[in-house]
């Protein structure tokens, strides 16, 4: 049954990149729609709006990060791919925080971003504050990233 180990591990890695990537894609897309509207009125706000648009994009990158660490841990990127079933399942679990929190936080952060873009459209001088609202949501993605990293690295050093 030890062949299944790597399947689960890879499934976890792929889901981390896949699900949070989807979330970020939707999120950045929402930001882009709102931003494009602002630019028609005032092209000079492009820089600020762009930053706000990109904020929900980080979850996808974190997902990529987890996927990459997992892939290199389980030896898919070269090395021996010898993963026991238990270890494979553990890797799978370790990837889940990033996958799920990444997805949902990207969506919620995108909504905060869109609202902040509206703020910047009317009051560009409040950019500093407007930026903080979406950044608050990101905290949870970062916490999930942290747990996923620690778990993946930790599972690698387990001897089961």
């Amino acid at each position: 049954m030890s062949e299944l180990g790597i399947v689960f591990a890879l499934l976890g890695a792929v889901l981390a990149a896949l699900v949070s990537g989807i979330g970020s894609a939707i999120g950045v897309g929402m930001g882009g729609e709102a931003g494009a509207g602002v630019i028609t009125e005032d092209p000079s706000k492009f820089g600020k709006v762009l930053i706000l648009q990109l904020l929900p994009g980080t979850q996808g990158i974190y997902g990529l990060l987890i996927a990459f660490i997992t892939l290199s841990q389980i030896g898919v990127l070269g090395g021996s791919a010898d993963v026991s079933l238990v270890k494979g399942l553990l890797y799978f679990c370790a990837c889940m925080p990033m996958a799920l929190v990444g997805y949902f936080s990207a969506l919620r952060q995108a909504r905060a971003s869109v609202a902040s873009i509206a703020t910047v459209a009317k009051r560009p001088e409040q950019f500093g504050k407007a930026m903080i609202f979406p950044a608050m949501v990101e905290t949870y993605a970062i916490l999930a990233l942290l747990i996923s990293i620690l778990a993946v690295v930790g599972v690698g050093s387990l001897n089961i």
Binding site: L55, T58, G128, K129, M131, I132, E138, I149, L150
Partner: protein, 670 residues
Amino acid sequence: MAVLQMQHISICALKKDRKKILELLQRMEMIEICDVMKEDILFQKMDLSNSKTIFEKNVSIANNALEILCSYVKEDKSMLSSFSGRIVTPPEAYDSFRSKYEEVLKIAKDISACAKKIAEAKAEIIKLQEQLEMLKPWINLDIPIGFKGTKSTVVHIGILPNEWNEEQIYVELASCMPVHLEVISKSKEQTCVFVVCMKEVSDQVIENLRRIGFAKPSYSSKIEPAAYQAEINDMILELQQGMEGAKQSIIKMSERRDDIKFLADYDVMRAEKYEVIGHLLQTRNVFVLTGYIAEKDKSAVEDALNARFDIVISYDEVRDDEEVPVQLSNNAFSAPIESVIEAYSPPGKGEVDPTFAVSLFYYMLFGIMFSDAGYGAIMSIACAVILKKKKNMEQGIKKMLQMFFYCGIATVFWGIVFGSFFGDAVSVIATTFFNSDFTIPPLWFNPAIEPMRMLTFAMIIGIIHLFSGLLMKGMQLVRQKDIKGLFYDVISWYALLTGSILVLMSMQMFVDILGIDFVLPGVVGNIGAILALIGSAVIILTNGRESRSPFKRLLKGLYAFYGITGYLSDVLSYSRLLALGLATGVIGSVINKMAAMTGDGIVGIILFVIIFIAGHTLNIGINALGAYVHTNRLQYVEFFGKFYEGGGRSFSPFKVNTKYYKFKEKMNNE
């Protein structure tokens, strides 16, 4: 590191000097005008909103003209021109522009008129082309389309739906001969026909024709279609020539672009000046101007005014209950951070300027999150080059670039500490192309290999940052002479937090989690516990001190004590230092790995360079943004949360608020 002390300034001068004085003050940009005194019978305000409106209208005419010029004649702009800032111009240029004013305004209006002419011509041409299209099927008809007939014949010209040939139509008209008909043109959709018949059978003919769907053409004219077509073509040609002429004259007038820019700035300044004049109290010969001025600027203004005008200046201290505008002043290292503070909110009443404290941490936090020597070097060098090349930059952009310059230096530092140079580029290049295992070892440790150690380090940074925030609060309370508050709100928390840390550090389990190899002895833990208990007791007993009822006091105290969970989450929040730092490094490694997959032939090297440059550019962009946003967040939420509320109003002096030219008054000491 300070909020500048403000004072009220009142300037009383003769009305004949009014314009000159205001222009001087406008260029000096040191006074914020405000209304302090009330109007009375003698001193009254003037309503100048009319002239202000005229200036504003002229500004929009000039801007409109500039926009039109832009769409016809592109300005030569280099890539870095957005950093160039406004052109510095001596005040004399402003005075001498007066003579050119009317002429330039006329040019601006002419440009708008030309643009309008072009737009109208374009619309007209489209209309004419539609007519040409309509005329096309009739082009072989050699009589006018509106031709009705002769003395004894009637002519029917019109359209039948679908395709018909002559025989088919003759069949339809068989009952009312003699008839002559010609098909002018036909297509699948319609057939254009010309029918001549005797007057007597005309009604019958038309009836038969209608039965098969005959309709009159949608337009009528007294000239033959071919001639009409030629006429329309002539008109289009004429319009096109007109357009070309207007275009040429716009291009010719674009030589005066600089003058029009000057016009826009000139009237912006005048509008602003008139706005200020509206605030002045005036009698027949004298006017009084009141406003805020920073104490350090007093002598400069005084010297400049006294040298040229008969004038009385007096100062008043600001009242305690007044909302005084805030101007910050800091050393060169901290000043770039001022914009970060202002983006949050300038310090409110009784608050210290946090710029210096923020700047100490800002560069460091940014550096830890970006943490790559290569990226930091690129950022610093780019900022330095632009700063060096464009001396005349606007203040805001200059500060921003300076900030990123320092951030870049911090990034280089932390990159070396954590051994990251374009990710792991050095070892990847060494193994791919030189078959060696050369690496640059980190000065301290590699966070990707020892994440727990990095996490501990991040939290230690967090604790230091938060403790500094508490320290700032303490300083603020001392400044406000609230010694009780210092003890209850700051020292008690220090005791509680330090005590808790000591207790945790003496527990074997906790130390194991963090991966630190020493445990504090139990005695220290006990001392810590006592310290924490005293601290929490003080907090619970005193933090509800504004309430009267003892029960309520206790509840409020307990609630304040509950704030310890806030500290916990604050410290955990610094784990982003680890997460973002790892993100930079790992994505960099992914890029290097992808680039290295191309092998080490010539093609491999070329592909390597392309992937390397594109990938790392992307990574710099994404992670610089992340580091910037999250550095701000740590400052705004975690650090400011401890002591800073803001709520002040930025100092906005009466100034030259222009777009293209900058008028600088020569100071005596320059």
